[in-house]
C-alpha cells in the first residue's frame, strides 16, 4: 500500500463533519436560499439551536427582545451570521484538536481557522464578492488536510524543515517534495470524499495558490489573501511558521494596495471580539 493509499484510508476513517455542516454548505452555495431553508436545517439540531440562541441573546447584538427560535435569530442577526455560527459550531470538533506534527497546541488550529475566516469575510467585502459565506467557510476549513498530514509531517519534519530553512522551499513545497502530497491537496481529497462542492474543493486545494494561474479567480484570491494576512499576524500559527509564499501579482490583478492590507489588518484588530465569540462556539 502506498503512502497515498494509506492517507485515503485514514480520511475514510475520519469522523466527518456533522451532516448539518454539509447541508449548510449546500445552502451557502445556492444564491436563492431562503431564511426558511436555513432555519429548517438548524432547528432540528437542539444543541446547535441552544448555542445560537445563547449567542444571539448575549453580547453579540445587544437585543432587547430575546430570540426564542432559530427563525427569530435569523431575523435578528441575518442569514449570513447564523450560517457562520452554525458552520463554526459544526467544524469545531474537527478543527480544534492538537496537531503536534505542525507544532500546533490544542486550540491553535481552531484559532487560526476562525481568525482567517473572519479576515476572509473582510477581504471578500473589499473584493466586492457577493457570497461572503462561501469565502468565510472555505477560509475556516482550508487547512483540514493538516489533520491527516500531521502524522507524516511529524515523521519527516527534519527533512521538510531543512528544505525550508536551507533550500528556499516554502513549507507546502517541502511537504510535496518529501511526502509526495501537500496539506492543500489532502484537504481537497477530504473535501471530495466528504462530498463538498467542486467550488469548495477548489478553494481548499488552491489556498496557497499552488497553481499561479488561479490567481485570477477572485474567490481563490480572497481565501489566499485572508490566509496570508492571518499568517502575517501569527495568530495560531504553528511550526510551519510564515514559510509560505506571498504572490504579489495578486495585488495588481485585483487592485489591492499596501494600505488595503494594513487597513484589513487594522479592521481585524478592532473586530477581534467577533473571533472570541466564534471561538466560544467550540
Amino acid at each position: 500500500m502506498t503512502a497515498l493509499d494509506q492517507m485515503i484510508r485514514e480520511i475514510k476513517d475520519l469522523t466527518p463533519m456533522p451532516a448539518i455542516a454539509s447541508r449548510l454548505l449546500e445552502i451557502v452555495e445556492k444564491p436563492d436560499s431562503s431564511m426558511n431553508d436555513i432555519a429548517q436545517v438548524i432547528q432540528y439540531d437542539p444543541v446547535m439551536t441552544i448555542d445560537i440562541l445563547k449567542i444571539c441573546n448575549s453580547a453579540y447584538s445587544g437585543l432587547k427582545m430575546p430570540a426564542e427560535s432559530i427563525k427569530d435569530a435569523v431575523n435578528m442577526l441575518g442569514t449570513d451570521q447564523i450560517v457562520e455560527l452554525a458552520l463554526v459550531k459544526s467544524s469545531a470538533r474537527v478543527l480544534s484538536g492538537r496537531r503536534k506534527g505542525y507544532g500546533l497546541e490544542h486550540g491553535d488550529m481552531w484559532l487560526y481557522s476562525v481568525s482567517s475566516a473572519v479576515i476572509a469575510k473582510q477581504v471578500a467585502k473589499r473584493l466586492g464578492l457577493n457570497n461572503k459565506s462561501t469565502i468565510f467557510t472555505a477560509a475556516l476549513i482550508k487547512d483540514i488536510g493538516k489533520i491527516i498530514l500531521e502524522k507524516y509531517v511529524s515523521k519527516d519534519f527534519k527533512k521538510i524543515d531543512t528544505l525550508v530553512k536551507k533550500n528556499d522551499y516554502s513549507f507546502r513545497e517541502a511537504e510535496k517534495k518529501v511526502l509526495g502530497i501537500d496539506h492543500a491537496e489532502i484537504g481537497a481529497l477530504i473535501g471530495k470524499i466528504w462530498n463538498f462542492s467542486p467550488r469548495m474543493i477548489k478553494l481548499i486545494q488552491h489556498h496557497h495558490l499552488r497553481d499561479e494561474s488561479m490567481v485570477n479567480d477572485k474567490e481563490v484570491a480572497a481565501v489566499y489573501l485572508a490566509d496570508c494576512i492571518c499568517m502575517m499576524m501569527g495568530i495560531g500559527v504553528g511550526a510551519d511558521g510564515l514559510s509560505y509564499r506571498f504572490k504579489d501579482q495578486l495585488m495588481k490583478i485585483h487592485g489591492i494596495s499596501h494600505s488595503d492590507i494594513t487597513g484589513l489588518m487594522a479592521e481585524f484588530g478592532v473586530n477581534m471580539h467577533e473571533v472570541k465569540i466564534l471561538l466560544n462556539m467550540a
Binding site: Y102, G103, L104, D108, F157, V164, S170, C228, M231, M232, M233, G234, I235, G236, V237, G238, A239, G241, L242, S243, Y244, R245, F246, K247, D248, M251, H258, S259, I261, T262, G263, M265, A266, E267, G269, V270, M272
Partner: protein
Amino acid sequence: MKQIVGVADMKVSNNPADDVITYSLGSCIGLVIYDPVARVGGILHYMLPESAIDKAKAAKKPFMFADTGIPRLFKTAYTMGAKKPRIRIFVAGGAEILDQKGFFNIGKRNYLALKKMFFKNNVMIDKQDVGGNINRTIRIEIASGDIFLKTSGSQEVKI
C-alpha cells in the same frame, strides 16, 4: 499570575508574582521593557507601524500601532517607578512571509517604525530576535526580569 497580552494590547506590572506573556508574534512586534531597580516590566504587542492609516481605530486601540503604543508602554512603566536610563529592552517578532517585498513587508516596517522612534528618543535595544519566517511567543518574569522566547514547535529558551 500570568498576565496575557493579546494582539494590539499592552500589560505592565510591578507585581513580583507576575509573568507577562504574549503569544503569536508573526509580523507583529513584541516590545519588552524592564527596569531591574524598580522591578517594573511590561510587553506591548503591536500590529502595524503607523496610526496615520486610521486615526479613529488608533483612538479605540492605541496598542495596535507602534507610534501610539510605544509611548504608552514607557509612560505606564514610569508611573510605576521605572526610570528611562535603567530600562532594558528586548524586541521580538517582525517576521515575514516568503517573497514579501517592499511595502507589503509589514514585519520589516513594524521593526523600522520602532527603530526610528528609538533613534529619535535616544533609546537602545539590548537584545532582539526579529525577522525570519517564524512565529514567536515571549514571556518576562517580573521578579527577575528574565525573558524567555519560544517558537512554535520548539522548547522555550531563556534570552
